[in-house]
């Protein structure tokens, strides 16, 4: 009889051990990993990281997350991928070992890292790179993105430019970003070959693109679309303007990167007229939500200085556009955890397809079974620089509804 009692007790212990441990974690912390190019693209890295941290700080400050009878606090762990896919893989391994419930990244190395994260049902959020193919709700069910897509940017650029009867030169640099963008912009213009004067790849690191710009000018181009990293956009502007060619230049979101203005700080007029496409920062309900977010962001981290001044001598700062996207993802993630009523990654991953939250700018953010894109293509707007400050254009249906965002330092 004693043997029977021992065995029953042993059996009960074995059965109890089969379940996933729900206790023992006295800190009750949920880790969100941020894997960004701290050394490589510091502005992008900083803004994404600060967006995640601000969301975590807000949520923790309001009591954290309640799942069942337990409370959780969010912890942010930062990794530097150096713009290297190999480093991103290492970072992802370390993040998974640290028990991360999600990885927020600029997009570096996602082609390699998503499968690692998938094994643990961990969500990967891309907060910057709009590359087509990075996100596929069917093939990569754990990859999400809150950032404008290259496809949407390219489509909107074509939609905006083709009716203007311009002969467009499609320039791209030879970085991965440039190559991906070249494919998307090529597809967007493929139905209107008569609108394309030339397609040309330029070297990403080259500061003098005079020969290439001369060739472009001889092609009869009356507008340039430059899909590349900020240095390439600055180099194209520099080469064109220095020969007195005031051709209109259009760019993807990298056109708004402070680096472009820093490079051309000695010739501010060369930036005038540069038009870029990006996700709109304010929603239809008005500027208040975004300005609230911006105010919070700046009171926590200070303004993101562009490093140049306008003609009135006022220092300029960059609105926290991409910080907004990573901030929003954390809120969608927490909504999914709440809906799943669980921190189990598989359940959280499934719930990410079922929730919508209001983003920092008042737009709805969410994913679904067919789309893991948190910024819809319709939300791509156009802004144009004048005196180093960008404002929404007036000749596009969406952009004309958007107010300008203040960019001069206050106080």
């Amino acid at each position: 009889m004693r043997r029977l009692a021992f065995l029953l007790a042993g059996l009960a212990l074995i059965v109890a051990g089969c379940g996933k441990s729900s206790g023992g974690d006295s800190t009750r912390r949920l880790v969100i990993a941020v894997d960004v190019p701290v050394t490589g693209s510091p502005y992008v890295a900083q803004t994404i990281k600060q967006g995640v941290e601000l969301a975590a700080q807000n949520l923790n400050g309001s009591g954290g997350i309640r799942v069942g009878s337990r409370g959780y606090q969010l912890t942010v762990k930062l990794y530097d991928n150096h713009l290297s896919a190999r480093r991103a893989v290492e970072d992802t391994r370390r993040a998974l070992d640290a028990g991360a419930v999600a990885v927020v990244t600029d997009g570096t190395g996602v082609d390699a890292t998503w499968q690692l994260a998938r094994r643990d049902d961990v969500a990967v959020d891309i907060a910057y790179d709009g590359g087509t193919g990075l996100v596929d709700a069917t093939a990569r069910p754990n990859v999400f993105r809150i950032a404008p897509t290259n496809r949407g940017i390219a489509f909107r650029l074509a939609e905006y430019l083709i009716p203007r009867k311009l002969k467009v030169a499609l320039l791209s640099d030879d970085s991965a970003y440039g190559r991906q963008g070249a494919a998307d912009i090529g597809r967007a213009f493929s139905g209107n070959p008569e609108a394309v004067a030339l397609k040309l790849t330029v070297p990403a690191g080259e500061t003098d693109l005079s020969p290439q710009i001369l060739r472009v000018r001889r092609s009869g181009a009356t507008a340039l679309v430059v899909w590349g990293q900020p240095p390439a956009i600055a180099a194209v502007l520099s080469a064109a303007r220095s020969i007195g060619w005031n051709v209109p230049v259009y760019a993807p979101p990298t056109g708004a990167d402070p680096f472009v203005r820093q490079q051309l700080a000695d010739h501010p007029s060369w930036v005038d007229g540069l038009t870029f496409a990006s996700g709109r920062m304010t929603a239809e309900i008005g500027t208040a939500p975004f300005l609230n977010f911006q105010s919070q962001y700046e009171s926590t981290y200070g303004v993101d200085r562009v490093g140049v001044k306008n003609s009135a001598g006022q220092p300029l700062f960059q609105p926290p556009e991409f910080a907004m996207y990573s901030y929003d993802f954390v809120h969608v993630l927490v909504a999914a955890i709440t809906r799943a009523d669980s921190v189990e990654p598989g359940k959280v991953l499934a719930a990410l397809n079922e929730v919508t939250t209001q983003g920092a700018n008042g737009d709805e953010r969410g994913f679904n079974e067919h789309s893991h894109e948190g910024v819809v293509d319709d939300d791509v707007y156009f802004a144009r620089f004048k005196d180093m400050i960008f404002s929404p254009v007036a000749d596009d249906a969406l952009s004309s509804t958007l107010p300008p965002i203040p960019q001069t330092a206050r106080g």
Binding site: A283, T356, E364
Partner: protein, 396 residues
Amino acid sequence: MSLRYSLGLAAAAAGLAAPASTAASIQQVLLPGPTPYPTQSPPLAVGGAPPPAALSFAVHARAAERVRAGVGPGGELVSLRVLHRLVLTGKGDYLIVVGAPVEDVRAGAGSDSQPGLRTGQILWSGFSSGSKVLAADAELRVREARELLPLRLRAIREGSRYSLTVTNATTIAEIAYGGEGLPQQLAELLDRTRRESLAGERLSPAYASVKGFVRARKDAPRIAAPLRVEGTLHFPSAPGSARGGTVHGKTVSFSAVLGDASPLSLRVDVSGGGGAPRLRVVARPTRLVRALTPPRAASWAVAVRRRAIPADLLLRRLIDARMQLVRSDQYQAFLSNPDPQGANRTVYVYETATAAPTAAPAPNTGSGGGNELVLTLAILGSVLVAGAALVLWAHS
């Protein structure tokens, strides 16, 4: 729902009547239409937690739907698809949630955007720059939607004889009120209702004057949406004869309005044909014609002037007709239109299904669902094996 709606209507009427009865002998009572609908669905209800759906006041939507029901040899429903086309006009943001027991959805032909899918929801989100077409081709779960289709089909084949019965399935019993109205006013309201019906317009709100107390009618009228039905049965060989239809070569065609003071079902009997036919039945919610035709006059106003028609009969005719038109309007939207004022048109097409019945989908439990089941079975299996071993050992 129907009872609640009807009681609400009666209560509203009584509420209007009660204070008035003390002050005057004539009450203004609200007639049925354009809303509320007598039942919650159609349109199909939202599943899951609805997100904060929003359609800017500057954006309007009209909907055109084609419901494609696949039926088996006996007329039973085996598959269901809806082509749901929303045409947005106006400039502004939209977030649209269309509730339905949706299994899968993709963009329909001509769509300017891609639909999203959540449990029980089709999603649209974006910006309309003036006009936009949102077309969804959705596969629905039969079990959850079949009761809301407007027709029931029943086919029987015995030897060389084939019979098909098509029944209007929109009938519900409603509680209506009665009273003594003013004949000339009721006649004018009947004429107005008739004009709106013949023009295919949604009813406009209307009040009737009733003398004395308003009372609930003892008979609960059975109300059905009038449906125009057209169908064909295509046989392997030419049938010998057909009753209720017309033979054209290998095809028997038939048409009828089910409702609108006409029978609510039709039956087609066919002899010969050499086997089971391929069936196609098209149904459209339609206007009322017969139920609102004035007796031997060009209008109800003229008819009432020519000869006395009891006021309670006129009120009864008016209320019943308006209830039928409300029901017809309800079936114009099988899936919902985000714009409550937007126009809706739905065509229901029943066709012989070529594919096997759609399997009921497994509930979405996330990627861990399968693993949990395996784990649970493994634990149970282990416990049973261990228990059996234990018993054997304990008795050794």
